[in-house]
C-alpha cells in the first residue's frame, strides 16, 4: 500500500432512481456525476439542503445502494459493483454513523452487544477478549461500563449516539461515514458528540465523510468542504478558503442565510434570500442547475441555459462549477465576503 493513495476516491458517481405509478414516470436524478476523494486522516464535509443528494452519495459509498454509474474506490480497490458477500470483509474498513440514534440501533440488543457485534461478525474476537474490548470502547466514548447491559430505549439520545460511534469504531475502520450525526440532538449534547468525534479522529486517524446541512458544524470539524446542489457538487475547497471566499452564488447564499448566535453580528449581515424552491430532481433544469434561483442569472445567460458548468479550479484546491467564476477576472460576488466570515 503506497502512501499517496487516497482512502476514498469517488469518480463521476451517478445514482438515478426510476419512478413509476401515481401518474409520474421518469427518473429521479438524485446524484448526477459527483467526484471527490478523501486522503488518509482527512475530514471532508459534504454540505447541502434537503434533496441535494448528499445522503445518497453516502449510501452509495458505503454500498447500501449500488451506483448507476461511476466508480467508488476504497483504498485502491474498486467496490462499485461488489456483491454483498464480496463486500463483507471490507466492512472492517468503512463504517457508518446514522442521523437518528433512535432507529439505527437494534432495540432487542443490549448496547454492549451492539458495540461488540462488528467484532464478532468479522470473527475478530470472542468471549472475554470481546468483553474487554467492548468495555474499553465504552470507556473511550465516555460511557459508564455498566450501561453495557442497557437496551437502546433506556439510553438518552446523546448516549445512543455514543453507542453508535463506539460500534462504528470497534473494527478501527479507515473511513467513517457520518450522516447528520448530531442533527437530532439538543445543542448541549451536540457539542459533546462533536468534541468526541474530533478527539477520536485525532486518536485513531481515520478519514471521515461528514454529511450535514449545518455549515457551522462543518467549519468547526472538517478540513475540506464540498457543497452540493441538486445532485451536483457546486463548490469544493479547503474549509478556511471556502468560508473566507465562497465563490459559487449558491454557497454565498447558503453562508449568508445561516444564523449566527450573536445579535450584533447577525443583524448587521446582508442576507441573500433565494427566490423559489429547489427544482424537482425528476426534471432538473437544463444547463446550470442553479440558474432558476440564481440572482446572477441575467449575467450568465444564455450560456447557463445551454451548457452545464464544469467544476474548475479557481485557486489552490478551490473548485467551482459556475460559468461566471470560470470567466477570467470575474468573481460572482453577491455580498461582501469579509462579512460572511465575521
Amino acid at each position: 500500500m503506497n502512501d499517496g493513495q487516497p482512502t476514498l476516491d469517488v469518480v463521476d458517481l451517478v445514482k438515478h432512481f426510476p419512478v413509476r405509478g401515481l401518474g409520474a414516470r421518469g427518473v429521479v436524478h438524485a446524484v448526477d456525476g459527483v467526484s471527490f476523494s478523501i486522503a488518509p486522516g482527512e475530514l471532508l464535509g459534504l454540505v447541502g439542503e434537503s434533496g441535494s443528494g448528499k445522503s445518497t452519495v453516502a449510501n452509495c459509498v458505503i454500498r447500501l445502494l449500488e451506483p448507476t454509474s461511476g466508480t467508488v474506490t476504497l483504498r485502491g480497490r474498486d467496490i462499485t459493483h461488489l456483491s454483498r458477500r464480496e463486500l463483507r470483509p471490507l466492512r472492517r474498513d468503512m463504517h457508518m454513523v446514522f442521523q437518528d440514534p433512535y432507529s439505527s440501533l437494534d432495540p432487542r440488543m443490549t448496547s454492549g452487544q451492539i458495540v461488540g457485534e462488528p467484532l464478532y461478525v468479522q470473527g475478530l474476537m470472542r468471549g472475554t477478549e470481546l468483553d474487554r474490548a467492548v468495555e474499553a470502547l465504552f470507556d473511550r466514548v465516555g460511557l459508564r461500563s455498566e450501561l453495557r447491559s442497557r437496551y437502546p430505549h433506556e439510553l438518552s439520545g446523546g448516549q445512543r449516539q455514543r453507542v453508535g460511534l463506539a460500534r462504528a469504531l470497534s473494527v478501527s475502520p479507515k473511513l467513517l461515514i457520518a450522516d447528520e450525526p448530531v442533527s437530532a440532538l439538543d445543542v448541549s449534547v451536540q457539542a459533546s458528540i462533536l468534541n468526541l468525534l474530533g478527539d477520536l479522529q485525532q486518536e485513531f486517524g481515520f478519514s471521515c465523510l461528514f454529511i450535514t446541512h449545518d455549515l457551522a458544524t462543518v467549519e468547526y470539524l472538517c478540513d475540506r468542504v464540498a457543497v452540493m446542489y441538486l445532485g451536483k457538487i457546486v463548490e469544493l475547497a479547503p474549509t478556511r478558503e471556502l468560508f473566507a471566499s465562497p465563490t459559487h452564488p449558491y454557497t454565498q447564499a447558503l453562508l449568508s442565510a445561516a444564523v449566527v448566535p450573536d445579535p450584533v453580528i447577525q443583524r448587521a449581515r446582508t442576507r441573500i434570500v433565494l427566490e423559489g424552491d429547489i427544482p424537482s430532481p425528476l426534471d432538473p433544469p437544463t444547463g446550470c442547475r442553479f440558474r432558476t434561483r440564481c440572482p446572477l442569472e441575467p449575467q450568465s445567460a444564455p450560456l447557463s441555459h445551454e451548457r452545464e458548468p464544469a467544476l474548475v479550479e479557481v485557486g489552490p484546491g478551490h473548485h467551482v462549477a459556475c460559468h461566471l467564476a470560470s470567466r477570467s477576472g470575474f468573481t460572482p460576488a453577491l455580498v461582501d465576503t469579509a462579512e460572511l466570515g465575521a
Partner: protein
Amino acid sequence: MSLLTVDGLSVRFDTDDGPVHAVDRLSFSLAEREVLGVVGESGCGKSVSFMALLRLLPETAVVSGRAEFDGVDLLTIPSSRLRRVRGRQIAFVFQEPMTSLNPAFKVGRQIGEVLTRHLGLSRGEAERRTVELLDLVRIPAPDRRAREYPHQLSGGMRQRVMIAMALACAPKILIADEPTTALDVTIQAGILDLMRDIRERLGTAIVLITHNLGVVADVADRVIVMYAGRKAEEAPVGDLFAEPQHPYTNGLLGAVPRPSVEGPRARLREIPGRVPSLAELPGACAFAPRCPRADERSRSQVPELREVRPNHLVACFHPGPDLAQTG
C-alpha cells in the same frame, strides 16, 4: 402597555409514576409589537407553557396560575369565550406544516374556513381575502396556489400558508412554535424575514419558541431561557448575548460551533450530565447537578428570580458571565 401578562403558570401531569411538573411558576409579560424569544432544549416546558395558555393540553394536565389578556383570565374564562380569543386574537403556528394542514382540502379553502367561521365573511369575500393573505406572506402566484393541495407545495411554502392562516383574523399575538426547525437554512431566512415584516407592517406581537439561539439573535427583542420547566433567565436580546448571567445560558452559548478566527480548533463547551427528569422536581436549583458554580445552597434551595440589571432577571445564586469563555 402589556398585552399579555402571565403570572405563576404551572403545569402538572399526574402519571402512573407520580406527578410530572412540566412548567413551574412561570411568569412573564408580552408587550404590543414585541418579539419575545423563548429558548430551551427538549423537555424544558417551552411549548407546553403556551399550549397551556390557550388550553390546548389534554385534560390530564393540571394547569394553575393566571394569564391576563384583554381584561380576562384565559385560564378561567368559559371555553365559549376562549374560542373567540383562540385563533382570532391569539394564533398559533406549529413546527410541522405537513401535519398541521389537512391533505384532503385545497389550501385556499382551509384559509377561507377561518375567515367564514371567525369573521363571518361570505364565500366570495373569503376567497378574495385568502388571495390577499397568500400575497401578504409572499407566496408567488397566490391565486393559483390557493387552488392547490398541501402536497403540491414545498415545506417553506406550507409554512407560509400556516402563517397566512394564523394571520387571517389579524391576531394581536402570533405564537410560533419552532416555525423554521423543519426547514432548510435558505428557506428559514425567508420565514424569519417574514416574521420581521409581519411585526413591522401589522404590529403583531410574536412569541417565537425555538431551540436555535441564532434564530433568537436574529429576530427577538427579548429572550426567556427555560430549563426544566422554570425560567432560568430573561433579558433584552443584546444583554443576554453580551452578558449572559445564568451558567446554563453561558453553557448553551459556548456549545454552539461558531465561525472561528485563525488558529487551532477550539473545543466546544460541553454541559456535563443531562436534563433532569421532571418527575423529581427537587427543592433545589434544577441545574445544580450539571453546574460548575453549584454549591451547598444551590443544592438545597430553589433560587428565585432576581433582577441583576434593569430588565435582566436570573434565577441563580451565582450569576454572571463566565470568565473563561471558550469558542
